[in-house]
Amino acid sequence: MSRLERIVAKSSFGTKPAQAARATVAPERASKVVARASRTLSEKSSTKRDTK
C-alpha cells in the first residue's frame, strides 16, 4: 500500500462503507473528472494571470 493509499484509508473516505462505495467506480472514470476539474482550474488561473 502506498503512502497516499494509506492516507486515504485512514481518512473518512477509508471507512468500510466509503471503501465499498469507491470500489464501485472505476478509477479511470474518476481520473477523467479530476482531469476536467484540473483543466478548469488551470484555465481559471491563466485567465486571472492574463487580466492582471
Binding site: 486515504v8 481518512s11 473518512s12 473516505f13 469507491r22 464501485t24 474518476a30 476539474a37
Partner: protein
C-alpha cells in the same frame, strides 16, 4: 493509543469539543470517529503540501471523486437524490423525472458534472481556505458530499438543456443528410417510429430506433448519439425485445 496527526492544526486536540470526544471511552464509535477526523487532517495536510496540484493531489482527488460519483449515482438510481438534497436544506433542487433516472448515460453525465464542480469548490472554498475544522466533528467526507449537493441542481439543469439541444440539432441533421426527395418519406417513417417508441426506455433508444427504421446504419446512429456501434447494436436489440413483448401483451389482452 492514536498518535496526533502530523498535519493537524496545532490546537487540534486542545479544542474543547475534540478533547471531549477524545476522552470519550464508552464505545469504539467515538474513538473511530476521532481517528477518522485525525486521518482527514492528515489528508488535508498532504494535499496542502502538494499545493493542490500534481500526482499526489490527483490521486487523493481521484479517490474523493470516486466516492462522490458512487454516492450520487446510487441516489439517482434509487430516485432519492432530490429528497436527500432537500433534506439537508439545499434549495432549487429539481425533481428527478423517471426518463432521466432510466437514462444511465445521462445520469452519468450529471453525476460527473456535479462531482467535477464540487471538487473545484471543495479545493478552493474548503481546503484552501481551511474552512474544515476537525474540532467541529464533521468529517471531510460529509463536507464533500454537502458540496456535491449544492452543485447537483446546476449540473442537472445544464445536462438536461444540453441533451435537449442535442436532440433538436440532430433532428435537423437527420433531415439534412438525406437526399431531398427522400426527406418526406423519412419524416413520415421517423414520426411513425417515434410514435411507436413513445414509451421507449429512453429518448436515445427512441431516436436510435427511429434512425434505424429510416435506413441509417449502426455507425451513423452511433455517431449521432455519441456512442459506440456495439452499444447501438445492444440498444436496438433490447428495444426490439421490449417492443415484441409489448405487442404480444396487446395481442393477448
Amino acid at each position: 493509543m492514536v498518535e496526533p496527526p502530523s498535519g493537524a492544526p496545532d490546537n487540534f486536540f486542545n479544542r474543547p469539543r475534540a478533547y471531549d470526544l477524545w476522552l470519550h471511552t464508552d464505545g469504539m464509535e467515538h474513538k473511530d470517529r476521532i481517528d477518522r477526523l485525525a486521518g482527514d487532517a492528515v489528508l488535508c495536510a498532504a494535499v496542502k503540501h502538494a499545493n493542490y496540484v500534481g500526482p499526489d493531489w490527483e490521486f487523493i482527488a481521484g479517490e474523493i471523486a470516486r466516492y462522490g460519483i458512487a454516492v450520487f449515482e446510487g441516489w439517482m438510481a434509487r430516485g432519492i437524490v432530490t429528497e436527500r438534497c432537500r433534506a439537508k436544506g439545499v434549495r432549487g433542487v429539481p425533481s428527478l423525472p423517471e426518463w432521466v433516472r432510466r437514462d444511465r448515460a445521462l445520469c452519468e453525465d450529471i453525476v460527473a458534472a456535479t462531482v467535477e464542480t464540487a471538487l473545484i469548490r471543495f479545493r478552493d472554498d474548503v481546503l484552501k481556505k481551511d474552512i474544515w475544522d476537525p474540532a467541529k466533528g464533521a468529517s471531510l467526507r460529509t463536507f464533500f458530499i454537502r458540496q456535491c449537493m449544492w452543485r447537483y441542481g446546476d449540473a442537472f439543469r445544464t445536462a438536461i438543456a444540453a441533451r435537449q439541444r442535442e436532440v433538436r440539432t440532430s433532428d435537423i441533421e437527420v433531415l439534412d443528410v438525406k437526399q431531398v426527395t427522400h426527406v418526406e418519406d423519412d419524416v413520415i417513417r421517423m414520426q411513425t417510429a417515434e410514435l411507436l417508441f413513445k414509451g421507449a426506455s429512453s429518448e436515445r433508444a427512441a431516436r436510435a430506433f427511429a434512425m434505424h427504421l429510416c435506413g441509417y446504419d449502426n455507425s451513423a446512429i452511433a455517431a449521432d448519439l455519441g456512442t459506440t456501434i456495439d452499444s447501438i447494436k445492444s440498444l436496438l436489440k433490447r428495444e426490439r425485445i421490449r417492443l415484441r413483448e409489448e405487442l404480444n401483451r396487446e395481442d393477448t389482452a
